[in-house]
């Protein structure tokens, strides 16, 4: 493989990591509070609020049911309004966030719901406010599960970002599509696929490792 190609692959890797990194960050900034709201406003939550829970649930379900490739095209006007263009890794972040935030919200919700109801009741019996329960009980107690969710979230976003390659989304996806699909360059295709697999493995294993080693329920 010539050095120009290798350089392109390195650039692709970096672009992919940039897209995934920024998307994960923004998706959690939006999805985390939404997940908390979903959990606490549930009918068994610490602050049951049925209308809010229902409305938020419906919006998230709608966004989650649109296949990513269609969402990618559908939000193009919105993307152009924000970034000024619809191609390249910067622009791809917009649809990636729109697809990932609801996903993150659901992951966070399910992690928080795993926290033992008895522990929450104990915190309430000690006079904790709702905010204190969220900050000092729900989030810390769910931490290992949230980290595992984060690893799954990153790998899902990585998959989405590669899909964006079909519409010039940048990164490894675009290289795979341009060389492997349009030019029948199987070797480059194979290398990009391998790179994607390696990146997924690294994030997944790292997430599991951190989760396991910070979880105090397991005695080491």
């Amino acid at each position: 493989m010539e050095s120009r190609m290798i350089q392109e692959l390195i650039k692709g890797c970096l672009e992919t990591l940039y897209m995934v990194g920024v998307t994960t960050l923004v998706a959690y900034l939006i999805g985390m509070p939404l997940g908390v709201i979903l959990c606490v406003t549930d009918k068994n939550g610490i602050c049951p609020l049925r209308p809010v829970n229902l409305l938020l649930g419906v919006i998230i379900n709608i966004l989650r049911s649109v296949p990513f490739l269609i969402l990618l095209v559908a939000v193009m006007p919105f993307t152009r309004a924000i970034v000024g263009k619809t191609y390249g890794s910067g622009a791809t972040i917009v649809p990636l966030v729109i697809a990932a935030a609801p996903f993150v919200a659901r992951m966070v919700e399910s992690s928080l719901k795993e926290v033992d109801a008895g522990v929450i009741e104990a915190a309430e019996s000690m006079g904790s406010s709702r905010l204190q329960i969220i900050w000092k009980v729900l989030l810390p107690e769910a931490k290992p599960s949230l980290i595992v969710g984060g690893a799954i979230g990153i790998t899902t976003i990585l998959g989405y970002s590669a899909m964006a390659g079909f519409v010039g989304g940048g990164g490894l996806g675009t290289i795979a599509v341009n060389y492997g699909y349009y030019r029948y360059d199987n070797q480059t295709m194979l290398v990009t696929v391998c790179l994607l697999v390696v990146i997924v493995q690294v994030f997944q294993e790292l997430g599991m490792f951190i989760a396991k080693h910070t979880d105090r329920r397991i005695t080491h």
């Binding site: 033992d116 915190a123 019996s125 107690e141 329920r217």
Partner: protein
């Protein structure tokens, strides 16, 4: 301890008023299709310094009752008066501060799994905005008191059931509560651990002056630590009084069921006359049964017997099967009456 002064809400009555008064307390759950009455018309008075037991079978409403006392469940009827303040009249923020003076421990311990023992004890102090250093010092002292001074860095997963409950007790004591609510606190523990946890609660009551309310389905818990008891059955309080009075003369069906010696034989000899006799502290030293058989010239069958230690006094009870002969029976009743041995016929 200056911080605590600011936490006292409402007016504090200094007179002889009871610490906790439940007036016509009721709770009906209405989330399902049919409303479910959990407790109804509960009237209880708990004095400062009491170890008050509430006993009942599962489903009787005990758990709802104790959760209504600190408004974890909001009662649908009646009042909870704590230290002269009607909890129902408090704003949410005031209620939260009041809860810091009425701690609770649970059957499932409910410790924060991601915090060490010490950090668990610090939790209620963080909630009360106590400075970190002062909180840790206090938490250490409390862990010493419950006998876990050397385990402060352990996580709950590294502790046994009894140790977890000790951490939970230390945590509950952190905010210097006036009352400690115990919801089946020993039900998940083995008999030896149960005894040591109950001893600890007794010590806390005696030395720190914390009033304790115990919810349980086990008579032995009541016998070991309570001075007063209420029996709850099908959402109502059916009987209450001093533990020794209820033990000597249980009036309600459910109290008898809980107090009578548990023997299989009781079922088999059903139909004949049976008598439960109770010894108080004095007659426990007399050979009552030997004298009875000698004086009445009648043999009795002992179906079951046990002794209990209530308030430091020995109480025994015995379930006797009487002979068929009616004359012998009347001699026995006569003997029991003249010797003033409390008894009751059981069917």
């Amino acid at each position: 301890m200056k911080e605590w002064a600011s936490l006292f809400v409402g007016k504090k009555e200094t007179g002889e008023s009871p610490l906790i008064e439940l007036k016509h307390l009721g709770k009906t759950f209405r989330d399902g299709a049919k409303p479910v009455v959990a407790i109804k018309d509960i009237n209880l008075t708990i004095e400062d310094g009491d170890i008050f037991g509430v006993i009942g079978l599962s489903g009787a409403g005990k758990s709802t009752l104790i959760r209504c006392i600190n408004f974890l469940e909001k009662p649908t009827e009646g009042q909870v008066i704590f230290d002269g303040v009607d909890l129902g009249s408090l704003k949410h923020s005031e209620l939260l501060r009041t809860r810091q003076r009425m701690s609770m421990i649970f059957q499932g311990f409910n410790l924060l799994a991601q915090r060490t023992a010490l950090e668990n004890v610090c939790y209620p102090l963080e909630i009360a905005h106590v400075k970190r250093k002062a909180a840790r010092e206090k938490a250490r002292k409390l862990l010493e008191i419950v006998g876990l001074g050397d385990r402060e860095k352990a996580y709950p997963s590294q502790l046994s059931g009894g140790q977890k409950q000790r951490v939970a007790i230390a945590r509950a004591l952190a905010t210097d509560p006036k009352v400690l609510l115990c919801d089946e606190a020993t039900s998940a523990l083995d008999p030896n651990t149960t005894r040591s946890i109950l001893e600890l609660l007794k010590k806390i009551n005696a030395e720190m002056g914390v009033t304790i309310i115990v919810i349980t389905h086990e008579m032995k818990v009541i016998e070991q630590i309570c001075n007063r008891v209420a029996v709850i059955d099908q959402s109502h309080i059916v009987e209450q009084g001093l533990v020794k009075d209820v033990f000597l003369a249980p009036k309600s069906r459910i109290a008898r069921e809980l107090i009578l010696p548990q023997t299989e034989a009781v079922e088999e000899v059903h139909g004949e006359r049976k008598v439960r006799i109770v010894f108080d502290g004095n007659s426990a030293f007399e050979p009552v049964i030997s004298n009875l058989t000698l004086e009445c010239h009648a043999a009795v069958n002992i179906l079951g017997a046990d002794t209990k230690n209530i308030d430091g006094k020995a109480y025994g009870q015995m379930l006797l099967q009487l002979p068929e002969d009616e004359n012998a029976q009347s001699r026995i009743f006569n003997y029991l009456n003249t010797r003033k041995i409390p008894y009751e016929e059981v069917c």
